[in-house]
Symmetry: C2
Subunit: 198 residues, 2 copies
């Protein structure tokens, strides 16, 4: 395609490298960037650079952080005795958006997946176990409800239970507002097996 | 929301200002930017800056351009006697993606919309008429199939016809692959009225 501008073409091709950005949205973004005042784009560019150049991993929970210790681990309002184990920082953000959870997190950096070569040493499991030597009341396993996520949760539960720490797993079943007729069989079976007495 | 990093939070808020980027996609993009090697992000940043700081409007067709005249208007492979009139540069890109059209363009910068105060003087209509004093064989009106787009096409057709230049309008009707049962009444009526003898 011969576009009217090579700069635009280059930008569109860079933007399509981003996750979830197709050719159509890249075009829309590129034209937006071309049409909006420079100052607005400068502040976007600065925000991108700040993240790309300065972000670190928190030395406690291994999520993304501005300093050595992230805002959550260094906050006085969070219960350090309750640790929610998540696969990655996007899952952490999802739970933070809910705003209900007041404990801290531990970011594994993925889930166990022997087929793709992800074993316990590829995840921050040793680091999690080191944290558990402190005064911890509950570990909440909030890995995904996929085969890998379930395997990881089972593995961690086996490791942690001997330490006499309460280990919980987030509930799996029919999503809130979910229409039973449209839900897959595995989810229905999980919901049935996980039924509670009312 | 107290995120783990203020830099990430700032970036997410900048990204949600972009068209078509919601909170979820902004989060995914921000974490991608944090996790990808700096060099990749530098080339993205450079591409954004090049577009934001250096892009101009082509002095012939008013689309976005690196120099005074865009790549399309300065190409020897394009038929300068055929001008396709589009509302904006995204519509131009859409037709360029098809790759079939070998003429040049004229970007109006919008469509006539008396209610929102867009009259002929707000669009590049005077500039289009000036181009038509040259050796032009056909003007293709490719404004949107909306009320504003149709109004603009009708207005331009009236202006151009007295110059003895062929004026055409792109076809409107059932989209290719469209399912008649799901198509709105206005489109069905347009398709019926625009029926061709086979």
């Amino acid at each position: 395609m011969l576009s009217s501008s090579e700069n635009i073409e280059k930008l569109i091709s860079e933007l399509t490298n981003l996750p979830g950005v197709g050719k159509k949205s890249a075009g829309r973004l590129a034209y937006h960037i071309a049409n909006v005042p420079k100052e607005k784009i400068e502040s976007l560019v600065q925000a991108i650079k700040n993240v790309s150049e300065n972000i670190k991993r928190c030395k406690v929970c291994y999520t993304l952080s501005d300093g050595d210790i992230c805002n959550i681990c260094s906050s006085d309002n969070r219960n350090k005795k309750q640790i929610m184990v998540v696969e990655n920082e996007r899952d952490l953000l999802a739970y933070e958006s809910v705003g209900e959870y007041k404990g801290v997190y531990h970011v594994l950096g993925g889930a166990l997946s022997p087929l793709t070569g992800v074993g316990p040493n590829e995840l921050k499991i040793r680091e999690l176990m080191a944290r558990l030597s402190g005064d911890i009341e509950e570990v909440i396993l909030a890995t995904n409800s996929s085969v890998e996520g379930e395997t990881t949760a089972t593995y961690l539960a086996k490791l942690i239970k001997p330490l006499n720490i309460k280990v919980t797993r987030i509930a799996s079943g029919v999503p809130v507002g979910g229409d039973i007729e449209n839900i897959d069989e595995a989810t229905l079976l999980t919901a049935f097996n996980g039924r509670r007495t009312l």
